[in-house]
């Protein structure tokens, strides 16, 4: 086991675990909370340090732990050059952000919560950049969406904050879903989700039919995350976040995740025309659009937001150019943008903090109040504009040079350098505006505070970042060359090409473009201020923000309208819709299955025809006369008896018995219930509605009958051979149905009797079994004959139940049927003698009967554990007992006892609960 095997998982896990530190320290002083938070990125950097030499030497430490191997999801982490660049940037800038936030947040804001969210976000970002499994990457990707939601919405009492957070989550989360789809497709093409393996299969992937859909989906994820036009609008909306969040999310992390993904998959996906036009095209449009829009933003952070969009477009464009040097330039600009943009956001935050405003129309002349901050901001803004001796200049020069060398565009190749120069002009213009409108240009207007320098420590992170801008700008070869080499090597999949990192390349076209951009930018800014009166500019109506907002409210409104139409409170309508949709689905599905019958048909017999006639008439009566409820009930009972006869006729004695007894119990139940409900229904549904219902019913009948016909006229393949062959030998019983119930499929049965018991307890809970029987529950005219015969019948019925139970394993019968018979005979007693009389004599607690039965069933099942067998394994034998002879004995019998007791308990509990109620105000029902 190497150091990396432990260090890599720890690095990813550390922020998630360490997130509890600031939470625990939440009540401590601000300094302590900040230290608790900063400990995490410091530890990450310390853990990374020993692995750096290996990566700089071209190695890539990797670890893979199985997570869900069946899905191809492994916890694989890999530290190559590109991952290392980001793995260093994320915690390093994180530390500066923590230091800055310590002074930015006021003492009455929950700083602990802020740092918890920040660390969680940091962990998600580290996960993205270190993942060597595509699915794992998607998981961390979604985690960044979620945690950035918490960060952007930190000031949860502000509307714009909440809206910005929601918008960011909606846009990047949707993109994440697209990315998941793309990742699955890519994994499908490659046959693996391990990124390092996928990257080696570029040719195979690019030749695949699925290349295009996978590319589109993956780019949808990357473009939303990296705020590419037209998905850019969430980024300015996210400016409602506290400035440290903006500085972190929009410089080195969140928005760079999209670029990271495009760079990560570069060896596998790049090189095609589709890649060039999609990645390059979106990047180009975003570059120019963002730079242009940034000039007109009056809000400091708004300007920086659009500038960020523009720079993200620039890097995207470079990654799309399909040349090696462009990829180097892209990586270089990722570093440079992270440094100057983080420092600019921090400077903007300082200005906001110390003046109370970010509006450039009100700011101005701050040079005199905060010269130190001004110097830092001016240097960073100059780097953003691409002024020589600063890092932004170097990568922009590389970009200009690459823009001149693109071959894919052919005759219109001039468009790219032109657009690049135009974007350069705009970016100089907004950078100049940032400097001029804030630090010069008259005096501050109507500020709430007198501007002053921030606390000393708040400037430290800005100073560090600006120093890096300068150092890289002056000594690029020394400072960034090594990391640039390995990182761009990882993007290309081959060692980085030879390139020159220098401030001076002689007089050439890129230099001319830079000069044009610088001079043009200043001129554009001057003319905007003088001729256009820039400060009077108003945003037009068609912003992405407003379009999103309109779509969002439109979607909510149409959802509300749809549910108001569907869910109008009428249950009849719900059922009708449900039936209608099921019919539609059923008919569509079965319409493709219709083929001619394949079997000779059985002849119709006389008893069958007679039964059919009885059933049809009884059903017709039940439906036609359903408003006269007692009649309908009797007819329904008759139908149940015919169904029972059908079971008997087709060799299912167990079913016939069960149906017979259940039918009896159901009819008693329905009669009991009729005491509480009106005896007649009035005709209240409209004719139109009845016609609809008849239509739905007829179609259901045709559908169900059709399926039955289809089933019956096709050869029948059974899986029951096993049960028939092994029932006697393995289950110890000859009644196969019963053996299936209590042995082969005993677990199912256990679940079913549990459902039954739950239903009975539900009835009891709803109607309150605890209440004492009330007056008027004795039948108005008690039949002495019935009462006496019931008393005589009861023991006989119980004996019958016992007999049915005992023979059940070998002949039709068993716990279910015996329980039903016993329950029904108990009910007879109630019916004949009234509740009060029976309650006085049958002192059973039915609840205990029911729970006891379930307990026995469970214990029988668990008993097999004692013998080292799985749950519900049965055992049987034929012990010889003196006088009685050989007795077949199976543990399944004990299980059946449990079923018996549960069923008896259920029936008695339900019927006695309903019988005990008295109809309030109404006379007890009498048959007329």
């Amino acid at each position: 086991m190497t150091f990396a095997d432990i260090a890599l998982p720890v690095i990813v896990a550390l922020p998630f675990i360490g997130a509890v530190l600031p939470a625990l320290a939440a009540r401590a002083s601000a300094n302590r909370i900040a230290w608790a938070a900063a400990a995490v990125p410091l530890a990450i950097l310390a853990l990374l340090a020993p692995m750096l030499p290996e990566v700089f030497a071209g190695g890539a430490p990797r670890i893979s732990l199985e997570w869900l191997p069946a899905l191809g999801l492994n916890f694989s982490l890999r530290l190559d050059g590109l991952a290392m660049l980001f793995a260093l940037l994320i915690p390093a800038i994180g530390i500066l952000i923590i230091l800055y936030a310590r002074y930015y947040l006021s003492s009455d804001e929950p700083m602990g919560r802020f740092f918890v969210a920040l660390l969680l976000f940091m962990g998600a970002m580290m996960g993205i950049v270190l993942s060597d499994n595509l699915l794992l990457l998607v998981i961390f990707w979604e985690l960044t969406s979620l945690t950035s939601f918490l960060l952007i919405g930190y000031w949860s009492d502000r509307t714009d904050s909440r809206e910005g957070a929601r918008m960011a989550l909606a846009v990047t989360g949707t993109g994440g879903l697209a990315l998941l789809g793309g990742a699955v497709l890519l994994g499908h093409i490659a046959g693996t989700y391990e990124i390092s393996e996928i990257l080696a299969m570029g040719d195979l992937i690019r030749a695949s039919d699925l290349y295009m859909p996978a590319l589109l989906l993956i780019l949808a994820g990357a473009f939303t995350k990296s705020a590419q036009f037209p998905f850019h609008f969430w980024l300015p909306a996210a400016m409602a976040a506290p400035t440290p969040v903006s500085a972190y999310l929009h410089s080195a992390t969140m928005v760079k995740a999209g670029l990271f993904l495009v760079a990560r998959l570069h060896p596998a996906l790049a090189g095609t025309d589709a890649w060039f036009f999609l990645v390059g095209g979106f990047g180009l449009v975003t570059l120019v659009f963002g730079a242009y829009a940034a000039m007109f933003k009056h809000d400091l952070k708004g300007l920086l937001a659009y500038s960020t969009i523009s720079h993200l477009g620039l890097i995207m464009l470079l990654l799309g150019m399909n040349t090696e040097l462009a990829a180097v330039a892209a990586v270089f600009h990722i570093i440079n943008h992270a440094t100057f943009k983080a420092s600019l956001f921090m400077a903007a935050g300082i200005i906001d903090h110390e003046t109370g405003s970010r509006d450039m129309r009100r700011l101005g002349g701050l040079w005199r109040y905060m010269p130190h901050t001004a110097v830092l901001a001016i240097i960073a803004a100059a780097s953003m504009a691409g002024v020589p001796l600063l890092n932004g200049f170097l990568s922009k020069e590389m970009f200009f040079a690459e823009a001149l060398h693109v071959k894919e565009l052919g005759a219109v190749g001039w468009i790219l350098p032109l657009a690049a120069t135009a974007a350069g002009v705009f970016s100089v213009a907004y950078s100049v505006r940032f400097i001029h409108d804030v630090f010069f240009n008259g005096e501050p207007k109507a500020l709430q505070k007198t501007p002053h320098e921030p606390p000393r420590w708040m400037k430290i992170p800005v100073e560090i970042l600006v120093a890096i801008c300068l150092l890289v700008g002056v000594l690029p070869q020394l400072i960034v060359r090594p990391i640039l080499d390995v990182a761009s090597g990882a993007v290309l999949g081959v060692p980085a090409p030879d390139y020159s990192l220098a401030i001076w390349h002689g007089f050439n076209l890129p230099l001319l473009m830079s000069v044009v951009a610088l001079a043009g930018g200043v001129a554009v800014y001057m003319s905007l201020q003088k001729l256009y009166r820039l400060h009077a500019h108003e945003t037009g109506p068609w912003t992405g923000h407003r379009i999103f907002h309109g779509l969002h409210t439109g979607l909510l409104r149409s959802c509300a309208a749809a549910s108001a139409w569907l869910a109008n409170g009428s249950l009849q309508r719900y059922v009708a819709v449900l039936v209608g949709v099921s019919l539609l689905v059923g008919f569509v599905a079965f319409a493709q299955q219709i083929d001619p019958q394949q079997q000779t048909l059985l002849p119709v017999t006389a008893p069958a025809a007679a039964g059919w006639l009885v059933l049809v008439i009884a059903t017709f009566v039940a439906v036609r006369r359903h408003r006269s409820r007692f009649t309908a009930l009797i007819a329904t009972g008759a139908v149940g008896l015919v169904v029972s006869a059908i079971f008997a006729y087709f060799s299912a004695p167990d079913l016939a018995l069960t149906q017979l007894v259940v039918e009896t119990a159901s009819v008693i139940l329905l009669v009991l219930v009729l005491r509480f409900l009106p005896q007649m229904s009035s005709l209240e549904t409209l004719l139109r509605q009845r016609v609809r219902d008849i239509g739905l019913a007829a179609l259901s009948g045709v559908g169900a009958g059709g399926i039955a016909w289809w089933l019956l006229t096709r050869p029948h393949h059974s899986i029951s051979e096993y049960f028939l062959a092994n029932s006697a030998t393995l289950g110890g019983g000859t009644n196969v149905v019963n053996v299936i119930l209590v042995d082969f499929r005993g677990f199912d049965t256990l679940g079913e009797v549990t459902v039954l018991a739950v239903a009975a307890l539900g009835v009891m809970a709803m109607l309150g079994a605890g209440s004492a029987p009330r007056e008027g529950t004795t039948p108005a005219s008690r039949s002495v004959m019935l009462a006496k015969s019931a008393q005589i019948l009861l023991p006989a019925a119980l004996l019958t139940a016992l007999y049915i139970f005992l023979r059940g394993h070998n002949l039709p019968g068993g716990g279910f049927i015996a329980g039903l018979v016993a329950g029904a005979s108990g009910v007879l007693l109630y019916v004949a003698n009234g509740i009060a009389w029976s309650e006085a004599r049958l002192r059973f607690a039915y609840r205990s009967l029911l729970t006891g039965g379930l307990g026995i069933a469970f214990l029988t099942g668990a008993g097999s554990w004692l013998f080292g067998a799985p749950f519900l394994t049965s055992w049987h034998s034929h012990p010889h007992i003196p006088l009685l002879g050989e007795i077949p004995l199976a543990t399944a019998v004990a299980f059946d006892v449990g079923i018996f007791l549960t069923v008896v308990g259920t029936i008695m509990l339900v019927l006695s609960t309903l019988g005990r109620l008295s109809p309030e105000g109404d006379e007890p029902w009498k048959p007329s």
């Binding site: 059919w612 409820r629 060799s651 069960t658 169900a704 009958g705 039955a708 029948h716 196969v736 029936i907």
Partner: protein, 109 residues
């Protein structure tokens, strides 16, 4: 015979659906009962229609399919539990709301 049984199943379904769509709780309970009959019969005949061969080992040369029978047996009993629960709901609703309309209020559509 096949047509006879298929038509029985169709009729039971049609009656069940029509009754379930009624506005009062009692016919809905009857409708559920009819649907149970139909579903149970359909499940049962999925195992084929066989005369006089109950699945009792040792009594015949061949047997009817025992598996659908076992499934339907528990389905019948659970159907009883469901109807009982539904009726308890209906009675409770009548007691609490004073109406047996399925929507819990008179005359709503």
């Amino acid at each position: 015979m096949e047509a006879l049984v298929a038509s029985v199943i169709g009729i039971l379904f049609a009656a069940g659906v029509y009754l379930v769509l009624r506005a009062r709780t009692f016919p809905v309970a009857l409708g559920l009962t009819f649907l149970s009959y139909g579903v149970n019969l359909m499940l049962f005949v999925a195992g084929g229609m066989v005369f006089d061969r109950p699945p009792i080992i040792g009594t015949r040369e061949a047997y009817s399919d025992p598996l659908p029978q076992a499934l339907v047996l528990t389905a019948i009993v659970i159907g009883f539990g469901m109807i009982a629960f539904f009726l308890a709901l209906a009675v409770g609703a009548k007691g609490d709301l004073g109406t047996d309309h399925v929507d819990g209020r008179e005359g709503s559509r």
